[in-house]
Symmetry: C2
Subunit: 424 residues, 2 copies
Amino acid sequence: MSCASQSAYRHIREYISRIAEYEPDIRAFAAYDAEDVHEQLSRIGETSEKTPLAGLALGVKDIIDALPYPTGSGSPLHRGTRPARDAAAVAQLRAAGAVVMGKTVTTEFAFFSPGPTRNPHDPARTPGGSSSGSAAAVAAGFIDAGLGSQTAASITRPASYCGVVGFKPSFGSYSLAGAGGLAPSFDTLGVLSKDVTTAAAIHSVLAGPVPAAPVSGAQPPLRIGLCQTPWWDQAQPATRDVMTLAEKAFSAGALVETIDLSAFAEGARLHAGIMAFEAAQTLAAELATQPEGLSPVLRAMLASGMKTDRADHRQNLRQAADLRDRIAGVFDRYDLLLAPAAPGEAPAGLDATGDPIFSRLWSLLHLPTITLPGFTGPAGMPVGIQLLAGLNQDEKLLSHALWAEKLLPVPARPPSLKKPEHLG
Amino acid sequence: MSCASQSAYRHIREYISRIAEYEPDIRAFAAYDAEDVHEQLSRIGETSEKTPLAGLALGVKDIIDALPYPTGSGSPLHRGTRPARDAAAVAQLRAAGAVVMGKTVTTEFAFFSPGPTRNPHDPARTPGGSSSGSAAAVAAGFIDAGLGSQTAASITRPASYCGVVGFKPSFGSYSLAGAGGLAPSFDTLGVLSKDVTTAAAIHSVLAGPVPAAPVSGAQPPLRIGLCQTPWWDQAQPATRDVMTLAEKAFSAGALVETIDLSAFAEGARLHAGIMAFEAAQTLAAELATQPEGLSPVLRAMLASGMKTDRADHRQNLRQAADLRDRIAGVFDRYDLLLAPAAPGEAPAGLDATGDPIFSRLWSLLHLPTITLPGFTGPAGMPVGIQLLAGLNQDEKLLSHALWAEKLLPVPARPPSLKKPEHLG
């Protein structure tokens, strides 16, 4: 084994001992097999060390197939489901050198009903959802990055609550083959990671059939549109303060102007309506055979979808397409939008994962979005900010995020957890 | 068992004996288990007879999960893959009373490399692809309808070659959960069936989370746009003649005007480019682990996708979106478009499935399309015509197709096969 391999090995060994120590408290993993991780490490020497993600410790949200694990999808109905092969995205990341550390907890079918995961910053609070385990595992220092997915707010919100980077690319960018979906108009794979560079490295592998050079240069934007969104009345003081702080930080290097998107206020309703209709189609097999195995909160959403008239659904789709056309013009003037990532700090309790309201519009619009950590609220919990760019301007967004990351405070580590040794 | 159940039972018993007699020649099924069919029949009395598809004999393309069968996807790499549950669409059709007769042959991953299926009208000719088995099984009188899927031309072309109805709804209409895809920008489930009424009945079940009333009234269109397409030079005399005959037939009840879509000539190239790029993402796991198990024709397409620059891919996506916006205006003036379904009769030989050129543009544009049989070419083989409506005008298309169906000749049965008894 070469020096580079040995270094990758050491790095992951530290994660393994950290998982052994803290995972019983955090419960970020739906399935974790230390033997399988060692088995992957033993093969590192066989592959080229020039692979772009060599030694990257990856968690995989448990709606995404990854051998040798079952894909449980956070539902008793899918417990023990054995995939025949890796999801396409997992295969791409493995081929690029990533080591699959395990399957991370998802809410039930990536909707609202939570798993057992706790927020590493306060185990009495939700990590957010639905990519709960990937966000918590990054925050806890178990992995470098976790695959997540977003249909409404399932990357942005847990990233904000757990104080990690959350990147959702433009709709359609990464393959969903081998990943369970909920609403095909919105379902998008993405990344929870410790920093923007790691998200950019993963993006460089997943956004096409062959790896590209990752975005590495920090580019300041010229103009940032500060968008409180039509749901600003639902922003708590923590989020309001953080938006002011971010505005201040970014004003040093860019022009920040307040923009009014009240013309997009229908976006949240359209998103919820389309999602419910499509989810009730997606889960037809489960509804037909074991409806009693679905949680009440999921059944309520599906019931709402089943009551939606087809003509109304198509009207929703048309209005969504109109809003997508209209948002394009905003990015002629602004390089970035700055928006709230969540209503506030992670709510207390583990029986719900928080409100998706500050992401529904952006998910409807298919825009790439990145959530950056750094700020904290009155309870000392992380509060993220969200940056957005125009459709398929993912690399532009990442280069601006590298710039923005430097202007924000260094994210606080979970107070009850030791700092991982390899992070210095 | 009630009278209605007994009638459903008799109907399917005839299919079973027909399959026993002719399937060894046609080879429409990738998997067929007569015991499982009998088992389903034995349970018919237990369910309501008011279900909208009671007793419908259904074939399921072998990229779509249906218990108790494996999902082979026409590839040695997927042979024997066991799904944990039915695909959503299969669950919806079962809940509506359909009986799953078996899995129908697909080309390799629904691309070009053919399976063993023969055209029932001439066993020395291709049935077309990729929904080869569903089209051939309907033509042979083995099933009432088959689920198919279309990424390029995989419903329209086999429908035309086998002389059956092929209906592809608007993109996004039916759930793809549990169905293997190839290019998510285009993948769409649809139906091969013996007549428009059967396609409309299936559409009423699949186009939403709960069944709706099926389209049943034949509505004449006011204006039909006759569209030779920018690829008319590739239309053989058989297709040219059939377009003239269809124009004549429809002119009795509607205004038929020739329209020029030369502004859409880039559509075929854009479609092929996007499809190759996305397919190479979709098949990442197979490419990473067993590339030698992929056919040369598939590997060549994937290689072209892997050579496509990401910036070029996004440019393709933008141009596709522009063309979708532009086609909408055409349907302000025309209720329907009439277009070729395929270059001509089914080509001789079983080593290829024909050219998708006359469907690429429509698949790119996400439009609903229906192929109608009735006409034949100089070799006596079926030659279909294609009718299209605007995005999400699926029910309008079906009601016009019911009208059109009556104006076309009654499709000829495969000469070498006996007429099914229950068809009178």
